[in-house]
């Protein structure tokens, strides 16, 4: 009830974004002394209580962008605003140091201070902030509260060196939460623990975010993590934001082949645009003429790819109806638990298809894809 009211309020009053980046650029010098852009003119906004995930392969500039928001990197160009305050402006030579930006951050290596107890590690941000420094009892109360929140109230007197990786991670999370900032930055904080712990922490992190209502910028190269956590995902490539949108949009309507291939599995059928009409497009391929959803930037006669997800293909022994169908040879089928993964060959192209049961036994099969589920993008 309360959270709903809050969301509504922010939409109605047009509350300013918690982060606004405009034209942020950061150059670095390669070994051969040429300049290259690690971050190449990125502009984006993060709304209050939103989780924005920066997703991309290593070297795409996502961590540099995060560190520029934190004030740990000095961009060469652009402006950074946090909660309506300009904290960096290259043109005005304005650069508020990290300690003046009023945000928290969780590091990939946790960066816990080995010479301080868990309690002191977590109390540190409270003791260090300028202005309102809490009294002793209030401070202890706050630390205990956060320790309980992350589920390790018994570890307060331990030292980081004496704890497991998962526990260290919880301490790092507690330290990022304790100051109650409106914005928390996460630099691949879940990449160092095993899959089970990671999944559980993801759920807890999300629950905590819902409860505390902070906004987060979260860097990861793990697409599953990105889709599960994100309110919106920014897929990054070579220092630029390739596509920015909610996870469903990124997954179902990727803007480019790069995004389609990076988020989830994409079967590609290359061809040539035969025609475009409103929201649909047709493309001539080795499978015949296929009809699908029209992507941006298609020109008749130019190269294109038809893209479909493994779970959107239908496999049958008899020829199905509909516009998009072709014959394929089933090479191998693997039971994966929730579904069966089939590896198919057709006209020299391999593709993957997920089906619910083992109803098809023949090796020569028909494949059909609904035109709504086939995406036509420029090659």
């Amino acid at each position: 009830m309360q959270t709903m009211a809050k969301t509504d309020l922010s939409q109605q009053t047009g509350e300013p974004p918690i982060v606004r980046l405009t034209g942020v650029r950061k150059n670095y010098r390669r070994v051969d002394r040429t300049l290259a852009a690690a971050v190449d003119g990125v502009s984006l906004e993060v709304a209050p209580a939103e989780i924005l995930v920066l997703l991309g392969p290593s070297g795409c500039g996502k961590t540099t962008l995060l560190r520029s928001i934190a004030g740990l990197e000095t961009p060469d160009d652009g402006t950074v605003e946090i909660a309506g305050q300009v904290v960096f402006d290259a043109a005005r030579r304005l650069d508020v140091p990290p300690e003046g930006r009023g945000l928290s951050m969780m590091f990939q290596s946790y960066a816990l201070w080995p010479h301080m107890s868990v309690f002191d590690n977590i109390a540190y941000p409270l003791r260090s902030r300028r202005g309102s420094r809490p009294g002793k009892d209030e401070l202890a109360g706050r630390v205990v509260e956060v320790l309980e929140l992350v589920g390790i109230p018994e570890l307060s007197r331990q030292f980081p060196g004496e704890m497991s990786g998962g526990q260290q991670q919880r301490v790092a999370l507690a330290r990022a939460l304790v100051a109650g900032d409106g914005l928390i930055l996460f630099d691949e904080p879940l990449s160092n623990v095993d899959a089970k712990v990671r999944e559980r922490l993801r759920v807890e992190l999300l629950a905590m975010q819902r409860r505390l209502g902070f906004a987060a910028v979260h860097v990861t190269h793990d697409q599953t993590e990105a889709m599960e956590l994100a309110t919106r995902i920014a897929v990054m490539r070579a220092g630029r934001v390739e596509q920015l949108g909610p996870p469903r949009e990124i997954y179902d309507r990727p803007a480019t082949r790069y995004v389609a291939g990076f988020v989830g599995i994409a079967n590609e059928v290359p061809g040539e645009v035969a025609g475009v009409d409103g929201r649909t497009a047709t493309v001539r391929t080795a499978y015949g003429t296929l009809t699908g959803v029209r992507g941006a930037g298609l020109e008749v006669g130019a190269g294109a790819v038809a893209i479909w997800r493994p779970e959107h293909g239908r496999m049958s022994e008899d020829e199905p109806g509909g516009p998009n169908r072709w014959r394929a040879r089933r090479r191998i089928s693997m039971f994966a638990g929730p579904h069966i993964e089939h590896h198919l060959d057709a006209e020299g192209l391999s593709s993957r298809l997920w089906s619910g049961g083992g109803d098809v036994t023949a090796d020569e099969v028909w494949i059909g894809v609904d035109p709504d589920r086939l995406l036509i993008l420029p090659a």
Partner: protein
Amino acid sequence: MTALTRVRDRLGALTPFQVAGTLLALALGALAVYPLALVVIRPFVTDGRIDLAPIRDMLAQPDLVTLLWHTAAVVGASGLAGLVIGSSLAWVNERTDARMGLLTDVVPLVPFLLPPIAGAIGWSLLGSERSGYLNLALRPLLGIEGTGPVDVHSWYGIIFVYTIYQVPYVFMIVSAGLRNTDPALEEQSRMSGAGPLRTLRRISLPAVRPSMGAAALLMVWTGFGLFSIPAILAPQAGLDILSVRVVQLLSFTYPPETGVAVALNLVVMLVVTLVWYAQTRMLRSTRTAGIGGKGARPRPMRLGRWRTPVRAAIVLYLALTSVLPLGALVLVSLTGFWSNTVDWSRLNLDAVVRTLTDTATQEALLNSLVLGVVCATVGVLAAAVVSVLVRRSGRGAGMLVDAAIKFPPTLSHLVIAVGFVLAFSGAPFHLGGTLWILMLAYISLHMPQATTASDAAISQVAPELTDASRISGAGQSRTFRRITLPLMTPGLLAGWALLFVTIAGDIGASAILAGTGNEVVGFRILEVFANGDYAMLGAISIILTLATSLVVLPVTWYARRRGGSPLSRTQP
């Protein structure tokens, strides 16, 4: 949010920490460069023109090649030996089951507690061909008549004594490096099928390369600067050592040939520059920075049947380097004089009592210990600030200040001491004959040791740890006080101990800057040595060693405990 309103930092503007640190670095740089400029530039400027005559005179020295060859051979050979022995001791003590608690923890440092001049005299007492105690004891056993079998006044003798004084540097710095290296790297190597030796060679040694580089730099620097050892041992061995020659040119030639002395020192400076450059490159290379570790205490490696021989070798080394020279000094102070025969029934404490009741000696001891504590503390803290700034600012200005602080002291201490006399003893400072001039000189002269130790210490602190502090709302000063400094503490304490001992037992600068008004131990030892009073010399050396041990051993023990506990792993 409130902090955001205080937007006042601008690009290029400096924070208070940077301002204070930069001022400190500049002050230290000035303190090193100014006296040096006075003494170094003067010989090269005649009537307002640059005059390279000193270089010509130096090159005209008839035995220049011999001089350089002898010096380089002694420093190089002892440096290599010191690196091998010191690293081995450190590795055995940190990583294997041959370690023996306190014995292997601190005893390798004992030679260090014995001022080099005392050590040199001790070895002279032990190893002189005719009446050395060691020879007196060995001859009946081996059935030799006349002289020998050992002669410390020789190539091998002088390299041996140099080595003893090089080992503690390597041991301390490499130990600290090993303590901060993730033992998992080594365990992984063992799992990959590599034996202990291969693991040592391929994994452990490369991991502590920054530490070994720092140690090598210190060794080259101190090796060329060591004066008291060659002064006592080299002449009879027929060896020409640079530091001895410099003193001859400065003190025993009339008029003093300062120009040639300075020019000779420039050669040393060149060598030190090369080593410094190599070491800086090494520290900056990321390949050696990958020290991780999640805090598991290393399980000592089992040496098996090698354990006993290794332990025996360590005990033998410790006995040879610490017990023997100390024993010789004790013996000479108890017999009252040095002779061919020792009359065990007539040992007495006369010389010790005479030393302890001597007011000049009392004053000298007190002054030296106080100066040692004050200068070591100031020097190490300043070095820590400078190291942090230099690391942050990278190349350019940082390197320049670093060089200004590190370089001047690579010249002979005696040359710089002359510079301090020129700079500070007269108007406007009038510090001549005071403890202040000694303090300034000691701090300036020992900054290379201090900054080398703090550079190694900061290189072990992961940048993320300070980033996390800044994000938490702490400014640079607070981050330095609460995060960086505590994490550097084990390395800094090691540096502090180093500074304290060398300052308390300093002879070089003291010989020129001290006098009856500001008596220090080094000066007192020279006075006593000039009188040929070996008994009192032995007594002073032993008292000084005991006093410095009382200070240094607890500090070293504490540093090692902090460094060895999982709490102080410098990376999470």
